[in-house]
């Protein structure tokens, strides 16, 4: 087009990061500068553009329902009849002093054709049993929240590493360039905070966009759609005028980038504006639930007591998935039942039961469940032995997560804990295995999805990780 701009193209002297990408970041901004109207042309090749996976994917996107605080598996998805028989028995010799087994206060029943055992705490979800693939042999390294949450999200608790969502985006790009490829709804501000959706050494553009207050699934308050993304409107300028303003801004940025010899940070800023501008057009509509049918709202539990907040978030997640967001995470907090298990756990479960059931049915009805991987799980599980009389302690040795849709077997259970549910003994899945499996379902080989940083090829699973092929549909 214009020769004068040719020299502004990303120079060949870029850090290794950019070489891996089909084109430098500045290109996107440049394109929009050249375009008469920003929206007239879709960018052709940016870091977020869809990329070919390593092999045919079973899932195209992920909705990750993160249960912060660690739900008790023996009261929800890991049926342990023997635990009931052993109620009151001491396991002090093997575990901590004074450990006395506590039977689950809730009844379990088999559901669906697959006959999955699910506790009565999930009556609605139980109806979707044939979509669930329970992973009952989960293990993680450390039974402490911050470490385990980071482990679950980034594969490391000692080092700052890119998050699962960032790796996914890096590997696959995203299909809708007007939206962030990775959105996290209401993530906790503690337990690693932004690291859990951060990009670490991956380019900043792969970082997750936080929607909501960021107080981590607090149950008391929810954000309205209007508040969910701050400053999504400009009160003064027309879209055209703001585009012109942005063009000036980006030209300043490019001048600066040139002077600074293509700094990654400046490229990141340029990217963030382009994305912000496109988001303004599209995101508010996606988060707006007012056009949904009353029946849909009802199904998700929106307006219902306790279920309203998470119901909204699940429905927003569906909207985002439908619009082409690659990785969506929704956090629900408050699962840390050291005490008051009998009172708190039913309430916790009720808050998510109906919304998740509705999400699965809704995705299925739209033909999206087959290529949407829904993942549910906390950072670890809880001890079958009691704590404070009516509570359960942290347990990293055995717990349950589940997956649904996106190429996993439904009505299926994989892995097992011992008779009391304390330790995984079969089909053990450590976090790197879990990560490797999720990536596999997305068509990515966890050993080949690498990023060279500081002279080393890093991967999400570090040096381990085995795909649980048994769960593939």
């Amino acid at each position: 087009m214009n020769d004068a701009h040719e020299q502004d193209l990303p120079s060949p002297r870029r850090r290794d990061a950019l070489k891996l990408l089909s084109c430098g970041f500045g290109y996107l901004a440049l394109r929009s500068l050249l375009a008469q109207s920003a929206m007239a042309q879709q960018p052709e090749a940016g870091p977020l553009d869809p990329k070919q996976p390593h092999f045919p994917p079973r899932a195209k996107r992920v909705i990750y329902l993160s249960m912060a605080g660690a739900p008790s598996h023996v009261d929800t998805f890991d049926y342990k009849p023997e635990l009931a028989a052993h109620d009151g028995q001491s396991v002090a010799g093997k575990y901590r002093a004074g450990a006395v087994l506590m039977a689950s206060p809730w009844k379990f029943a088999q559901h669906g054709k697959g006959g999955l055992w699910i506790s009565e705490l999930f009556p609605e979800l139980a109806k979707q049993a044939d979509r669930l693939c329970l992973l009952r042999g989960m293990q993680t390294d450390v039974p402490a929240h911050p470490q385990a949450v980071l482990m679950q999200h980034t594969g490391s608790f000692q080092f700052v590493r890119p998050s699962l969502g960032a790796w996914t985006l890096y590997g696959l790009g995203t299909v809708n360039q007007n939206l962030p490829g990775f959105v996290t709804i209401d993530p906790p501000s503690g337990t690693g905070g932004a690291q859990n959706y951060g990009s670490a050494f991956l380019p900043a553009t792969f970082q997750g966009l936080r929607i909501g207050s960021g107080r981590g699934g607090g149950r008391a308050r929810r954000d309205t759609e209007e508040e969910a993304v701050a400053n999504i409107h400009n009160e003064r300028l027309s879209t055209d005028a703001q585009r012109k303003q942005l063009d000036l801004l980006q030209s300043l940025n490019r001048e600066h980038a040139r002077r600074e010899h293509d700094s990654d940070e400046v490229e990141g800023v340029i990217q963030s504006y382009e994305l912000a501008f496109r988001m303004q057009a599209e995101l508010p509509q996606l988060l707006d639930l007012s056009k949904e049918k009353p029946a849909t709202l009802e199904a998700y539990g929106i307006g219902g007591e306790g279920t309203d907040k998470f119901g909204r978030q699940c429905l927003m997640a569906r909207h985002l998935a439908e619009a082409g967001v690659r990785f969506i995470e929704v956090t629900h907090g408050g699962w840390d039942q050291h005490r008051n298990l009998r009172e708190d756990l039913p309430r916790q479960c009720k808050e998510i039961d109906k919304p998740i059931a509705a999400l699965l049915a809704d995705l299925d009805q739209r033909g999206m469940l087959k290529d949407t991987l829904v993942v549910w799980g906390g950072e670890f599980g809880r001890t079958p032995y009691a704590q404070n009389g009516d509570g359960r302690d942290h347990n990293n040795k055995g717990f349950t997560t589940w997956m649904a849709g996106g190429g996993v077997k439904g009505g299926f259970s994989y892995g097992a804990t011992d008779e009391n549910g304390i330790e995984a003994i079969e089909g053990k899945m450590k976090i790197p295995d879990w990560h490797a499996t999720i990536l596999y379902l997305l068509g990515l080989d966890h050993e080949r999805l690498t990023f060279n940083y500081a002279g080393r090829d890093f991967r999400l699973t570090n040096v381990s990780g085995e795909v649980a092929k048994e769960i593939l549909a």
């Binding site: 309205t224 801004l249 940070e265 963030s272 912000a276």
Partner: protein
């Protein structure tokens, strides 16, 4: 209060119920409840002070009159009806009165071979210090405890076989006293036991004491053996060495010792330093780093003119002397001190006097208070000598550090609250001052570092012996109120902030409403009673608040109170197995971290030990303290610490990238009288600090991560600096510090949005003075990764995301600042080009180049605002139209920003906004 009285009466009735084994459980349960309610310092006893809120007659339980009600006193309290407890109550037969028995080798051998194993095998599950649940208040793990007995009286009388309860119990002759309950002893065992009583209960002293000494360690399962020599060999626990820098090949580059250390590192990796930044870039860098503000055009011009060798040092000295230095560096410490003006967690109760601590920190940095002194005052200011009321007041305010952590004010169990408070303090102190994560050792020995649980509880004892005064009043969501500390009358401290007239009106209206509500309803009705109690609490809160301000909203002398710490009742903490209150084990003596040793700190005496702890932490011999601080200083000047994990110098943290340099800095800091300003000065006058940020030279391949600092890393401005720099460029930044904080005009839980709105309204003060409520950070700060105030934050996140772009594109505060900036520029002398130049100078510290100038001109001429983007796209949920956290909240009261702005100013405003938005504004290179 009424509720408590009632419940305590019930407990008291239980305490006086007839003592019988069947009642023991009830009593034990009652005792537990009593502790929950009253035992604020969590020492397992109830002191007279703790009885303040309780009925007077409870004091009768303290039968030995030592001011403490102990479990044994409670368990053995005489019944109101029925028979008195069998035999004599424990307190009437103090163990010391029983004559010791003579030990012979034979009796000792008999005890060790027969009796100890028997007790261990058959009794200790329920009757020892380590029992999961101590039954009947009886311990059988020392001669004294056998003699003292339990709820049913002494277990045995020396020589009196038939009169000993122990013998009766094991014989299974009584129906209600059969021990061990599940399996009777064998005849041989029975015989041995009778023989032992007959002998007078010989108990070899060594065995007794060995049981004592092992108590602290064997009490905890899974305790690992720590090889202390090996542990102490870890780099961070060895004293730092003040060694000179190694020789370098290049003899001319280094200005001083710091540069020589860095250069040696570069040469080792084959990296070479890049060239120097230009003078304007250096001035912007150093001005932002030292004051958090950009240099003014006048300062830029002055520095450009003065090319003398001393010009750099002159700038640094000017900046160090500026009050803005304290505002910038004080904020760095406030991150570490997890400073906030509310409790966070469940109820988020406001801390209306927290700002006094904030101001103290800022002043301490401006005064260059020696860092060791700085730490000591925060930990134990109340225990330091003071020569004036002013000093006394400042010492008190400094201890606010201990009081302002996040707290769950609604915790019902007082002991839980006490332990959690101590834990929070340990966490803040250990991470913040020592770079260690000691809190990990609350439930188990530290997984990575040589910090056993006993060390944790040694520290916990110090904090449990401290009376932490965080303020707040009893009310909704707050069952753990505390008073504040009155400041000396003659001290020169501000009375407090001005109460907003709207706030005052709201408070008075609220009071009337409460009054009316309380009056409605039938007398004596439980509903009414509850209402009355709630009303009384709320009235209490409102009255307290209104009493501290006069009619026109001026703070009164009654408001001169501070959060802080005082001495509590000194006692050792009980180790809690897995951190659980129900699993209290042996007490451990108050003390410090074993791996570091006692240094030269005086031993802890009869006081809490806080002063000794302060001495121990602020000791030049402490291998961590100076290193951790020097590392933090380095971080704030080079973007990364030499130890990248600034709050964790332990085994799971990072190793120093240049330990020799870190040690040199730490020892230099101590050698210069712990002067922060001196060390900052030395660093910013180094050659390394003067380098360009350009990403070229040999370093690129030799050291791509720039670990050796062959170039200046590109750093994003902190949230505060971004906001302050915008307001400074706009010319609207109020440089005079405000008096107090608007939060100072609040009290109670942060639930009332109409009360919060005027508090959270954006004010053009420096960002460090904005209200910092937990979970409600000002939007401008939150979006740019301000420290999360519930945690110790040494090193903030530095994200680069679309939400920041949205903020800079659309936020009301940014638009208003742009308007002011545009008006300021247009009012300056000169033509359009001069105005553009002035705008660049004010925002970026440089003039535009030709391309930029042309682009801006074109933009200004072509600009048409057009019709604003409607909000038609988004239909807010009508139920939530009043945004709680939305972009509107900070500016709810602000006038519409652009209504009256003419098209020219609008175009200029849109232009200067791009200067705020551009990467160069946000990054310093």
């Amino acid at each position: 209060m009424k509720r408590i009285t009632l419940s305590l009466s019930v407990l008291f009735a239980l305490a006086l119920a007839p003592t019988a084994l069947s009642q023991e459980r009830d009593r034990a349960e009652a005792w537990k409840k009593l502790l929950e309610r009253l035992d604020k310092d969590a020492d397992g006893k109830i002191s007279t002070a703790e009885l303040q809120d309780a009925p007077k007659f409870l004091a009768r339980l303290d039968r030995n009159g030592d001011g403490l009600i102990e479990e044994s006193e409670f368990m053995s309290a005489p019944g109101r009806r029925g028979k008195p407890a069998p035999k004599k109550p424990a307190s009437a037969a103090p163990p010391a009165m029983s004559a010791p028995v003579e030990l012979t080798p034979e009796t000792s051998a008999f005890f060790e071979s027969k009796i100890r194993p028997l007790l261990d095998r058959s009794c200790y599950q329920c009757h020892s210090e380590h029992s999961e649940k101590l039954k009947g208040g009886l311990r059988l793990d020392s001669r004294e405890s056998v003699l003292a007995g339990g709820a049913s009286g002494p277990a045995a009388a020396p020589g009196d076989v038939e009169g000993s309860l122990l013998v009766r119990a094991v014989r299974y002759t009584d129906d209600d006293l059969q021990m061990p309950p599940k399996k009777q002893l064998s005849p041989d065992e029975l015989h041995d036991l009778e023989h032992w009583v007959e002998l007078g209960l010989p108990w070899p002293a060594s065995a007794a004491s060995s049981a004592e000494t092992t108590a602290s360690t064997s009490a905890l399962p899974g305790q690992r053996e720590i090889d202390w020599d090996k542990a102490r060999a870890f780099w961070a626990f060895r004293p730092p060495q003040h060694a000179s820098a190694p020789a370098t090949k290049d003899k001319t580059w280094a200005f001083g010792e710091i540069d020589r250390f860095l250069l040696a590192g570069m040469e080792q990796l084959g990296a070479k330093p890049v060239g120097d930044a230009d003078r304007a870039a250096w001035l912007r860098r150093v001005t932002l780093d030292l004051t958090g503000l950009p240099p003014t055009p006048e300062e830029l011009a002055g520095f450009d003119k003065d090319r003398s060798e001393g010009s750099y040092a002159a700038v640094v000295d000017r900046l160090l002397a500026s009050p803005a230095f304290g505002e910038r560096w004080g904020r760095h410490w406030l991150d570490v001190a997890r400073y906030a003006e509310s409790s966070g967690k469940d109820s988020n109760i406001v801390y209306p006097q927290a700002w006094r601590y904030r101001d103290w920190v800022i002043a301490a940095f401006n005064d260059d208070m020696p860092y060791d002194r700085f730490l000591k005052e925060q930990l134990a200011g109340d225990l330091l000598p003071s020569s004036s009321e002013d000093e006394r007041a400042q010492h008190t305010i400094a201890t606010g550090y201990l009081a302002l952590g996040a707290k769950s004010h609604n915790t019902r169990d007082k002991r839980q609250f006490a332990y959690d408070l101590a834990d929070e303090q340990i966490d803040a102190v250990s991470q913040g001052m020592l770079g260690l994560t000691v809190s990990c050792a609350r439930c188990h020995d530290h997984k990575f570092d040589p910090i056993p649980t006993t060390d944790y509880y040694a520290l916990a004892g110090i904090f449990l012996s401290t009376d932490t005064r965080y303020g707040t009043l009893r009310g909704p969501g707050n069952t753990n109120p505390s008073s504040l500390i009155g400041l000396p009358a003659a001290a020169h401290v501000p009375d407090g902030p001005q109460m907003d007239s709207a706030t005052r009106a709201l408070l008075e209206r609220a009071r009337e409403v409460i009054e009316r509500q309380a009056e409605s309803g039938k007398k004596g009705d439980p509903q009414t009673k509850l209402k009355e109690r709630l009303a009384e609490e709320q009235r209490g809160i409102l009255d307290d608040l209104l009493a501290r301000f006069d009619e026109s909203g001026h703070a009164l002398p009654a408001n001169r109170q501070a959060m802080g710490a005082l001495e509590g009742r000194a006692h050792d903490a009980l180790v809690l197995e897995r951190g659980e209150l129900d699993k209290a084990r042996a007490a451990v003596p108050r003390g410090f971290l074993t791996v570091i040793g006692d240094l030269e700190a005086p031993p802890i005496g009869k006081e809490s030990g806080r002063l000794e702890l302060a001495d121990w932490i602020a000791s030049p011999q402490n291998p961590l303290t100076a290193r951790v601080w020097a590392n933090r200083i380095w971080l704030h000047l080079f973007g990364k610490g030499l130890v990248r994990t600034t709050d964790n110098f332990g085994a799971s943290g990072a190793l120093p990238s240049n330990q020799a340099l870190l040690d040199w800095l730490a020892t230099e800091l101590v050698g210069q009288g712990w002067s922060t300003k001196q060390l900052v000065r030395e660093i910013v006058l180094s050659h390394a600090y003067r380098l360009a940020a350009h990403d070229e030279s040999a370093g690129r391949t030799a050291d791509p991560e720039n670990l050796t600092l062959w170039r200046m890393p590109e750093r994003r401005l902190e949230a505060e600096a971004i906001r302050d720099a915008m307001l400074a460029a706009a010319g609207t930044l109020e440089r005079t510090p405000p008096v107090g904080s608007p939060v100072g005009t609040l009290e109670g839980a942060t639930r009332r949005e109409e009360l919060l709105a005027p508090i959270l309204k954006d004010r053009p003060v420096r960002s460090v003075y904005l209200p910092i409520l937990r979970d409600r950070l000002p939007g401008a700060l939150e979006v740019f990764d301000a420290a999360e105030p519930s945690f110790v934050t040494g090193d903030r996140d530095e994200t680069n995301v679309a939400t920041q772009a949205l903020y800079l594109m659309n936020d009301e505060d940014v638009l208003r600042a742009s308007d002011a900036f545009a008006a300021r520029v247009l009012a300056s002398p000169g033509d359009e080009d001069a105005h553009i130049e002035q705008a660049f100078l004010l925002a970026l510290g440089r003039k535009p180049d030709g391309t930029e100038l042309a682009a801006v001109r074109r933009f200004l001429h072509e600009f048409k605002p057009g019709a604003p983007q409607g909000k038609a796209d988004a239909k807010p949920d009508p139920r939530n139209d009043r945004g709680r956290r939305g972009r509107r909240r900070d500016t709810a009261e602000a006038e519409p920003s652009s209504a009256a702005v003419d098209p020219k100013t609008q175009a200029w405003s849109a232009f200067v906004q791009t200067l705020f938005g551009c990467a160069e504004f946000r990054y310093q290179s």
